[in-house]
Symmetry: C2
């Protein structure tokens, strides 16, 4: 109990982490179908067979990496909702910033996540569907919190608001085709909050 601190990192874990990181990179750069296992193996500095020691298939590797990433964002977002005694516009701002921060840093994730959910096995498609629903659920919580706090008019359709909000999040997180002028997270989050609260027409 005294000797085995953390010095010798279990090689098992290290390799698995290396594979996951490489998979995120390669899947993020090329998308699911064009990414090859050989490429991932090379990027992880392991043999192709090693991938199959840790993961039973390309799909499992893919779902593994995505689920891990999504849980990270979702956790962060949920913690924003929990610590929510700020007034709603502040909350909206923080939420937006957390999301944008995350997706600027892990650009690959949003690329994959935004990507067409097409041409996958039924199982994978269902999985992606449920990820998306979970993400929508968190956003719905946010919006409903706004409703409860009297920020939104009660006759607004929640689903519609959620669609709009996530659309804005994705649009600013992605900029997938364009060059990045990232790290304007603050300004962009403010813009989104303002757009939602009072619009962007010249005069009120």
């Amino acid at each position: 109990m005294t000797t085995n601190e953390q010095p010798l990192a279990l090689p098992e874990i290290e390799t698995k982490e290396r594979i996951l990181a490489a998979a995120l990179k390669v899947f993020g750069e090329k998308g699911y179908h064009p990414a090859t296992m050989a490429e991932i193996a090379e990027a992880a500095n392991v043999g192709k067979g090693t991938l199959y020691w840790y993961f039973s298939s390309k799909e499992e590797l893919f779902t593994g990496i995505i689920e891990q990433q999504i849980q990270t964002v979702n956790l962060e977002l949920r913690s924003v909702l929990e610590a929510a005694e700020q007034p709603f516009p502040e909350l909206l701002l923080t939420f937006t910033k957390v999301f944008l921060d995350y997706s600027y840093n892990k650009r690959q994730l949003s690329r994959i996540f935004m990507g067409t959910p097409l041409g996958f096995s039924d199982e994978l498609r269902a999985r992606m569907f449920s990820w998306h629903k979970e993400f929508l659920a968190i956003n719905t919580e946010l919006i409903q919190l706004g409703l409860k706090k009297g920020f939104f008019s009660p006759d607004l359709e929640v689903e519609r608001v959620v669609t709009a909000f996530t659309g804005l999040l994705f649009a600013f997180s992605g900029r997938q085709f364009m060059e990045e002028n990232g790290d304007q997270v603050e300004a962009e989050a403010v813009f989104i909050r303002d757009l939602i609260t009072h619009g962007i027409a010249h005069q009120a």
Copy 2:
């Protein structure tokens, strides 16, 4: 000159149209990579070789079909901008409606268009990039028109507004993962216009 009216439709044209329609369908359902030429051929009721009589490669077939579709939307959108003596909020509404109408009917297109631009040849990637830029250009025209008409405050960053607007368009056109409650085009377009003009907070 008197006899050869249009009775015998040139079989050539008919087949090519059939292939294009089949390609739109299959690419739209599965995305670029998982779609196979065999599948497209089957859907078009032609032999696989026939595809190569009309198109020199899978990529060319793909770019052909997309370019045709995109030009259609772009043309419609531009015509909205041209006939623009309406006040700006009306214009915004019409523009949005046209876009949503189109993409509800041709759902495949927006799926492909929104899809990850990943794992393509450099040439195809560049092509997709330019399609996207063209679409952004049209939206920029719209926003700039709003600026000229004094609808937007002059110190708003145009690019930011365009990003937000296209994000909203895509979010409502897509609903890619969700069931469709389409044909609410009118209501959704109104929602977007209102969001932009005065926000959706409870009181002004």
